[in-house]
Each structure stands twice: as C-alpha cells, then as structure tokens.
Symmetry: C2
C-alpha cells in the first residue's frame, strides 16, 4: 500500500523546453508579449532561470505554431499577423469546420450528442449570467466535442492550431453581447443537423457560423 505514497502524479515531469514553450505561448496569447517584440534567447533564459538550450527549442516550437518568426542569424520575434493572414486562416478554418461538422452528423454517438447538448445548455446559461470567461471556454468545448467525434486526429490537430493562431484576435469576439444570439442560433442549428444525421445541413450551418465569425473578427480589427 505504501508504494503509492510517492506516486502523486506519475507524469509530473515536463522537459524544460515544454515549460518554456507553455510560458511563452501563454504570454503571447494573452498579449503580455506583443507582436513585433524581439525574443532574445539569453534574455529569456535569464528571466526564466534556465539555459539557452531549452529556450531555443521552445522558440522553434513556437515558430512551427506560427506564433513567432525566426530569421536565421537575426533572431526571433513575436509574429504579427496581417489582416490577409487572418482572412486566410478563417478561410481554411471554414472548410475544416464544415468538414468536421458533416462528419459529426454521420458519426456522432448518442452519448456524445447528449454531452454536446449539455455543453450548449451550460453555454446559454453562462450567456445569461454574462460570465465571459465561461462563455469562451464553453464555446471551445462545443467545437472540441464535434472535433472529437470525427475521430480524425489530423483534422483536430490542424484545426486547433488554427484556433491558437486566432486566439489573440478572438478574445474580444465573444464579449460583445450583440453577437451572442446569432451564435446560439448556429449552435442549435448544428445540434439539430447532428441529431438528424444530416451531413449536408451540418456543413451548411457550420459554414454560416464561421462566416459570421469571420465578418465579426474583421470588423473588430477595422475598428481598432
């Protein structure tokens, strides 16, 4: 029995590069590191109390997530996205969201559907309570459940990567009250399509959903 005494968390070990990666990623996504800011290995290493090696590796990971830009012999800087980039990402996400939703219409098990419904119910409750943090989280959960049901890891991975890239520009989005009713309508439409196993309808609604998102994000960029 005592052999479990020290097995609090069997995988508490995380390589430093992952710790650094998570730290920097979080800093970028929350805006503590702003686009264009230079990321110098020595400076970061000192600040984080590690050597340059894990910092270098973390920077390269961030580069592959398109969060930082690496120029050989020059260094890294937080990547600044143009409006064009955002449009491009949304265009791809549109296609993938439609794909995911239509697969979900075909494949989703009843159990998962019930879960999805309950997430949506919670979402609408959070809306009433104007709990912005929770609204954002539950919207993410809703889409994650759909992705999961596709049983397609590649799709999930690519989609989530796109989401991360948009994260910085998305924060403001769900905070605006006026957009919420439309989002709820979309979610309900998606639920209905899944319930009816209507893949075509699902893709259509998802497309409309993203299109709405797209327009909103673009508008919020322009108003800055």
């Amino acid at each position: 029995m005592e052999e479990t005494k020290f097995v609090i968390n069997s995988n508490e070990y995380l390589p430093l590069r992952d710790v650094v990666f998570n730290t920097l990623r979080d800093a970028i996504l929350t805006g503590k590191l702003v686009p264009g800011e230079r990321l110098m290995e020595n400076q970061l290493a000192d600040k984080l109390g590690v050597s340059r090696t894990p910092v270098r590796e973390a920077l390269r990971m961030l580069a592959l997530e398109n969060l930082v830009e690496l120029v050989p012999r020059k260094g890294a800087q937080v990547l600044d996205m143009s409006e064009k980039d955002i449009i491009n990402i949304l265009e791809v996400r549109d296609a993938l969201e439609s794909l995911a939703t239509s697969i979900a219409c075909e494949k989703m098990k009843n159990e998962a559907l019930q879960q999805l419904k309950s997430v949506e119910a919670e979402f609408e409750r959070a809306v009433e309570e104007r709990d912005v943090e929770r609204i954002i989280q539950l919207d993410e959960d809703f889409h994650d459940l759909i992705l999961e049901s596709t049983e397609n890891d590649k799709l999930t991975q690519i989609y989530q990567n796109l989401r991360v890239q948009l994260y910085r520009y998305r924060m403001a989005h769900l905070k605006v009250d006026s957009t919420i009713p439309a989002i709820i309508a979309h979610h309900r439409g998606i639920l209905r399509a899944i319930e009816n196993h209507d893949a075509e309808e699902g893709a259509t609604v998802a497309h409309g959903h993203i299109k709405y998102h797209t327009e909103f994000i673009l508008r919020s960029i322009h108003s800055k």
Copy 2:
C-alpha cells in the same frame, strides 16, 4: 567587377540544422530510413559530421512535420502511419483540395490558367512517354499552381505538409498505368471548371479526384 566573383549564390548559407533536416527528411521520404527506426542523436551527429545540437533541432522540426515521433527521455523514431492516419490525412486533404479548387475557379488569372494548361499538356505528354519521375513532378506542379492561385499561404502550407506526410505512400501511385486516364479526366475537369469560373463544379471535381486517389492508395496499402 571582381566583387561578384564569389557571390555565386547570395544565400548559399544554410544553418546546419536545415541541412540535417533536409537530409533526414529526404532519407525518410525515399525510404532509406524506415518507419520504426530509431534516430539517435549521437549516431546521426557522427554520421553527418556535426554536433548533436543541429541534429536535435532538426529532429524537432521533423516531429512537427509528423515524420518522426519524439518521446521525452526515450528518443526519436521514424513515425509509422497506420491506415487510419492515412485515411484521416486524405479526408482533410479532400476538404482543402476542394476549397483550393473552388477559390481557383473564382480567382485564377488568365495568365496562370494558361500556365496550368501547359503543365497539363506536358503531363499528358509525359504519360505517353511513360516518364514516371516527370509524371509525378508535373502532377505536383498542377496542384501547386492551383494552390498558388488561391493567394492563401496558410492553405498552401497546410496542404503541402499533408502531401509530405503522404509522400511515402504516394510514390507507387502514379506508376500504375490503369489510374492515369482517370487522373487526366479529373485534371481536364478541373481546368474546365476554372475556365468557366464555376466554383461549385470545381469543388465537386476536386472531391472526386481525391476520392479516387484515396481509394487507390488504400488499395495499394492492402495489397502489400
């Protein structure tokens, strides 16, 4: 005038990590390194005549391309894809190819269209000459031209990454004579759709094209 003497190639400099990356990537794609094979940093460093540092960085780049798998404190090995993985990739590629083609139908300039036509003509000539290497290259060119015309770097990047992952399983594909006529028909269908700016038709034909690819690749896997 003599200042140009040594400026043969103004960006001949490539960081060692990129050299190693290209070398390993090529070795994996051509099958010199087979799935499951362990990739040990010291061993690779010795063999390539560099230190472990660039090798490590190259391995991490390969991991992000899903060509190798990294297990913390265990090491790297050439990633073996299951049939499920291949199906997943093809599913995503299908959606992206349809997206790319339909955008191309809307956006492609006449100049690019003429280029596309000439690539297709060359492709069909290569088919007649049974020049397999050239067939493969031109098929890639055909799809690259379509991607380019979307003016969407993200889409292009993601699509090409998927292509790399399939590369190993794709080689055999275009070597089989029986599949070629269908591919030519698809290409011509895509050309027609672009010419008529018929985005819907383009997406449909592209979808059929990938579906055909998919079935073929799966059949060739099963017959192994």
